[in-house]
């Protein structure tokens, strides 16, 4: 499959996702998160997904990463290509140290134990955690968690990078450093899908953008135009 000379890496076609809920306010006990969403991700591009909280942005990334399956519709990924979701703040095991959590995250992404150990000093240094790297993450502040999460995520090498709000937290100094590292990562041939609340980031790093509204695609195309549409519903 190709469009505009670029190969499609990932495609969602008429994808809907709902799950049963006990809350009666939902439709017959079902909570509809996405409703017939269709979109494509092309090789080498950075696609931004923007929308209000709870609109289905993270769910879209989870569908792309193969973590969830759609209730209806299809998710197609180019054969032989890997997609990985990078998020922070979730997934840490609180009783384990920063070092153990970083090792585990790397191994879960497919690294061997030796490769994972090879990343650790780099992660410790970039995250600026110092001796806290050896302490259980339950003792970390939210800023420290963000630093560990971002740095661990940065070390992952995959064909399609799915990034969920990784640049939205942490202290200002670290955010600046993280933004620079992330920009250098996505400026090359890397295919990236990028979820963010921050308009500035989307305008700056994305080639194309999509705005989700009430579980469906409201606008798609040039980031500036999509951000205009987002501002109207915000």
């Amino acid at each position: 499959m190709a469009a505009g000379g670029r190969e499609i890496m990932l495609q969602l076609e008429d994808v809907s996702l709902s799950y049963p809920s006990r809350r009666k306010s939902f439709d017959h006990g079902a909570h509809h998160v996405l409703d017939r969403v269709s979109l494509q991700v092309f090789e080498g591009e950075t696609l931004g997904i923007i929308g209000r909280n709870g609109v289905g942005k993270s769910t879209t990334l989870r569908l792309m990463a193969g973590i969830l399956a759609p209730t209806s519709g299809t998710v197609w990924q180019r054969p032989g290509k890997s997609a990985s979701l990078l998020t922070i703040g979730l997934g840490f095991r609180p009783d384990l140290s920063g070092r153990d959590n970083a090792t585990l995250a790397a191994m879960l992404q497919g690294a061997t134990a030796r490769q994972a150990r090879g990343f650790l000093e780099e992660i410790k240094e970039f995250s600026e955690l110092g001796d806290s790297f050896e302490e259980p993450v339950k003792t970390y502040s939210s800023g420290m968690l963000a630093r560990l999460g971002f740095t661990t995520a940065l070390k992952t090498h995959v064909d399609i990078l799915l990034i969920d709000e990784v640049l939205s937290v942490g202290d200002a100094l670290f955010r600046e450093k993280a933004e620079a590292a992330m920009k250098s990562r996505i400026s090359g041939d890397q295919t990236v899908v990028f979820v963010s609340h921050m308009e500035g980031q989307v305008r700056e790093v994305c080639d194309r953008a999509i705005c989700l509204y009430e579980g469906a695609v409201l606008a798609e195309g040039d980031p500036a135009a999509v951000l205009d549409a987002y501002r109207e519903i915000r």
Binding site: I67, R93, M107
Partner: protein, 257 residues
């Protein structure tokens, strides 16, 4: 992920959790053997000192039953909650859901190795010296392990889909403790027919009895019965692995919602 990578990951998670658990407690790794011994002590006080079981060497008999039962009950109980408990990781990574119960089981395996050493040492001191019969323990332990993995996978799926199952599973473990001959001998039940039925239809009662036959009487287990339990557990395990592979994304949705 290759099988070797998968197993290394299981083992890494298990060892990290053991280390973290030991660091949380003042007595650290001592709890590996102290906790089961305290259970044995409670049962000994109740059934020997208060109720006076009248059985010769009740302590050795009880340790064989309780220390092997705890391996099963604790592993299945904790592994059953493992998928639901790891929803943070499940929301980030598309990973086979067997990973989580298996890591818990692996953790239990390390603890149980220490408990088995303690049990064998204790029995030796009490006049049950090591012999060739102890080699019979290997197939019994393997079948016991298969049972634990198969039952844990069933439990982990049930709890992931409907959280309330964790209550039923905890209750089922208490029920199993009472009906599996942990503190009574299935072979000396008043009604021979009942004894036969308990050993025939409760695999856990058979396994506990098999441990006792080897350790206290140097007798081989009923190999045919053991093989039947092994085949049954292996089939259940195979079915569960297939179900968990096919419904990996469904389980993720249930864990996350």
């Amino acid at each position: 992920m290759t099988f070797l990578q998968y197993f290394r990951l299981v083992d890494t998670i298990a060892r990290m959790d053991l280390r973290a658990d030991a660091a949380r407690k003042g007595l650290g790794y001592i709890w590996w053997v102290l906790e089961p011994l305290l259970f044995v002590l409670v049962f000994y006080v109740v059934f020997e000192l208060i109720m006076q079981s009248g059985r010769g060497d009740f302590l050795g008999f009880l340790m064989c039953g309780k220390l092997t039962f705890i391996w099963f009950s604790k592993s299945v109980n904790q592994a059953s909650n493992s998928i639901a408990a790891n929803k943070g990781l499940i929301g980030r990574i598309n990973v086979t859901k067997t990973l989580f119960p298996l890591a818990v089981i692996q953790e239990g395996l390390y603890r149980q190795a220490a408990v088995f050493l303690l049990l064998l040492g204790f029995l030796w001191v009490r006049g049950y010296p090591p012999g060739l019969a102890w080699f019979y323990l290997v197939p019994i332990m393997l079948v016991n392990y298969l049972m634990i993995v198969a039952c844990s996978f069933v439990g982990a799926c049930l709890v992931c889909v409907v959280r309330d199952f964790s209550m039923f599973i905890a209750l089922a473990m208490t029920f199993l403790m009472f009906v599996s001959g942990v503190f009574w001998d299935a072979r000396t039940l008043g009604d021979a027919r009942t004894a036969e039925l308990v050993l025939a239809f409760n695999p856990l009662a058979f396994i506990i009895d098999a441990y006792r036959q080897v350790l206290l009487h140097a007798a081989a287990p009923d190999w045919i019965h053991l093989a039947q339990i092994a085949v049954g557990s292996a089939l259940l395990l195979l079915v569960m692995v297939l179900i968990m592979r096919r419904s990996s994304q469904f389980l993720a949705l249930r864990a996350l919602s």
